[in-house]
């Protein structure tokens, strides 16, 4: 009973906040076509200026932006872009699929059969992002 009341209270509160909200949605599609590793700060002066895709730490930070601001990612990236790495089932390594885009530093370069034994011990949390609950068919061929 207590949980139901709490749920109702939260729902009513959220409904009121929704009814009172009047923000303008982000553009569905970025108005200017952008290509390559962009530095959003070249045009933006607000918080989006911090999204410098060329910065060395952007790869590490992109998960936080996706977790918190996925609507902004979607202005330039369709889900297909994310699915290249964060796939349900994928047989081609990202670094193999885009050999002609070396500047992206896509993962699993070279003999990854050997290197995965090392990377997996360094930090298995890196593996879990893409292979924790999905895209693990190939893992199953050896690891039962």
């Amino acid at each position: 009973m207590k949980n139901i009341c709490l749920g109702l209270l939260v729902t009513v509160l959220l409904s009121m906040l929704y009814a009172c909200a009047h923000t303008q949605s982000l553009a569905r599609v970025h108005p200017e076509e952008v290509k390559g590793l962009v530095d959003c700060g070249e045009c933006h002066t607000d918080r989006w200026a911090l999204w410098n895709h060329r910065a060395a730490d952007f790869y590490n930070k992109h998960r936080f932006f996706a977790d918190e601001q996925s609507k902004a990612c979607n202005v330039c990236h369709q889900e297909a872009f994310c699915a290249d790495c964060h796939a349900h089932k994928e047989e081609i390594k990202p670094s193999d699929k885009y050999k002609d885009e070396p500047e992206r530093n896509l993962p699993h370069r070279g003999d990854y059969i050997n290197q995965h034994k090392i990377d997996g011990r360094i930090n298995p949390a890196y593996c879990v992002k893409c292979h924790g609950r999905q895209n693990n068919e190939r893992c199953r061929s050896c690891h039962r």
Binding site: L14, M16, L17, C20, A21, H22, Q24, S25, R28, K35, G36, T45, D46, R47, R54, A55, D57, N60, K61, R63, A66, D67, E68, S70, K71, C76, Q78, E79, A80, F81, A83, A87, H88, E91, I92, D96, K99, D100, E101, P102, E103, R109, G110, D111, N114, R121, I122, N123, P124, A125, C127, V128, G132, R133, N136, C139, R140, C142, H143, R144
Partner: protein, 414 residues
């Protein structure tokens, strides 16, 4: 408006006992219709594969629906409602689901999102992936200052009602001034009663040409790996740490569930001159059980436009034998009109031989040709030699076609 893009990929690979010639077709389709108050769209992406050489095994064909959902995006309040197979990234939730997802801005700087459905896991029968998933996130933003969110996700099984995973978390993005931002997340596993992860990242750009970053991460394996369905990574297998080997020869329970990782890292980047960037980075891995390791090195990249090049040198120096190696990468790319050429060399030198091999390297060359704004073809060849391959040669030919130039390439840029 209907748009679509196609990637047709033909691979040539050799394994220890056979040659493989798989042919893939990746298709992405979207339709967009303006309606009163917003936009309705349908988005779908998937692939299919057939092996042209080996049709003897059951898996000579394969395929997948990567995503497929009906979406409504409102003109106001960043309202999004998706129905179908969607990938949800909201705080502690990073899950692909067959279900519904909703998010909207609320008044006074608040936003909320919610999702529910069936989790899409690749191996539902290997380890329990759950039958039902639901969760949400509430956040507050002060533009120009911060976004702070709280989120939760829960997955359970229908038959016995058992929870597969139950997580809560707090995420932050602080950007008090243009030159500083802090991102991070702390996540807690209620099912195992412990903190899974505390990861935070600080970026400073005091000058346009000078950037500094620092990050720290604390991972508790027992709690972080809970709910994982990959046997090699699963905490359920980790609880059998060192229990033995499977028929395939790999250890069951590879990861020690008592392990805790604390990682501290930093990087310094400087633009030496326009388009020439130098970054030095360092990471210290401190393990509760297996000692510690240091990873450090530098990247130099030059990207003036029609050509680009990069050089990366890193050293991994750890207590464990396998965590002692040098890593090198050098690449270059050049475009002449419609033609572009890329060369990429990656080399790892181990301090201690693995399978009597101390050097693992791969070299690849790729050529691309832009026939038209809609049609591009690329071909590449890669040679590899390492502890698991004496000599391996593989190739790939890719044909990319955008049925609608503007929308077909939308979001598919590099």
């Amino acid at each position: 408006m209907i748009s679509a893009s196609s990637d047709t990929i033909f691979r040539l690979r050799e394994t220890r006992d056979r040659d493989l010639y798989p042919l893939y077709e990746y298709l992405h389709l979207s339709t967009v219709q303006q309606v009163t108050g917003g936009v309705v769209s349908f988005n779908m992406g998937g692939w299919g594969r057939v092996d042209l050489a080996d049709r003897t095994t059951e898996d000579h064909t394969n395929g997948d629906l990567q995503y497929g959902y009906l979406s409504y995006r409102g003109d106001r309040n960043n309202l999004v409602a998706n129905l179908g197979r969607v990938w949800v990234t909201e705080g502690v939730a990073s899950e692909r689901i067959d279900g519904a997802y909703w998010r909207s801005d609320l008044a006074a700087g608040f936003m909320a999102s919610a999702f529910a459905g069936r989790p899409v896991v690749t191996e539902p029968n290997a380890l329990a992936g759950g039958d039902v998933i639901y969760g949400g996130r509430i956040a507050h933003s002060l533009p120009g200052l911060y976004t702070i969110g709280v989120s939760a996700v829960k997955t359970s099984q229908v038959d016995d009602g058992a929870d597969v995973l139950e997580r809560e978390g707090i995420d932050v993005w602080l950007h008090p001034v243009k030159q500083v931002d802090i991102t991070g997340i702390s996540s807690y596993s209620s099912r195992t009663s412990g903190w899974m992860e505390n990861t935070y990242h600080l970026s400073l750009a005091p000058l346009h040409d000078f950037r500094v970053s620092a990050d720290l991460s604390a991972i508790n394996y027992r709690h972080y790996l809970d709910g994982v369905t990959t046997p090699a990574l699963s905490v359920n297998n980790a609880l059998n740490f060192g229990a033995g080997t499977s028929a395939a020869g790999a250890n069951n329970g590879i990861l020690n569930p008592n392990e805790e990782l604390f990682m501290l890292g930093a990087s310094v980047g400087y633009t030496l001159r326009k388009n020439l960037d130098l970054v030095a980075d360092y990471r210290h891995f401190d393990y509760k059980v297996q000692g510690d390791a240091h990873y450090f090195g530098a990247n130099l990249t030059y990207t003036p436009g029609t050509y680009s090049a990069g050089l990366q040198i890193h050293r991994m120096d750890g207590g464990a034998e396998r965590l002692s190696y040098d890593e090198f990468r050098i690449w270059a790319s050049r475009r002449w009109g419609k033609v572009d050429v890329t060369v990429d060399l990656f080399d790892v030198l181990y301090d201690h031989d693995i399978n009597d091999v101390s050097n693992s390297f791969s070299i690849s060359g790729a050529v691309g040709y832009q026939f038209s704004p809609r049609l591009r073809a690329t071909a590449d060849v890669e040679y590899m030699r390492g502890p698991d391959y004496e000599n391996q040669l593989q190739g790939l030919i890719k044909l990319t076609y955008a049925f609608d130039v503007k929308a077909g390439t939308e979001g598919r840029a590099k």
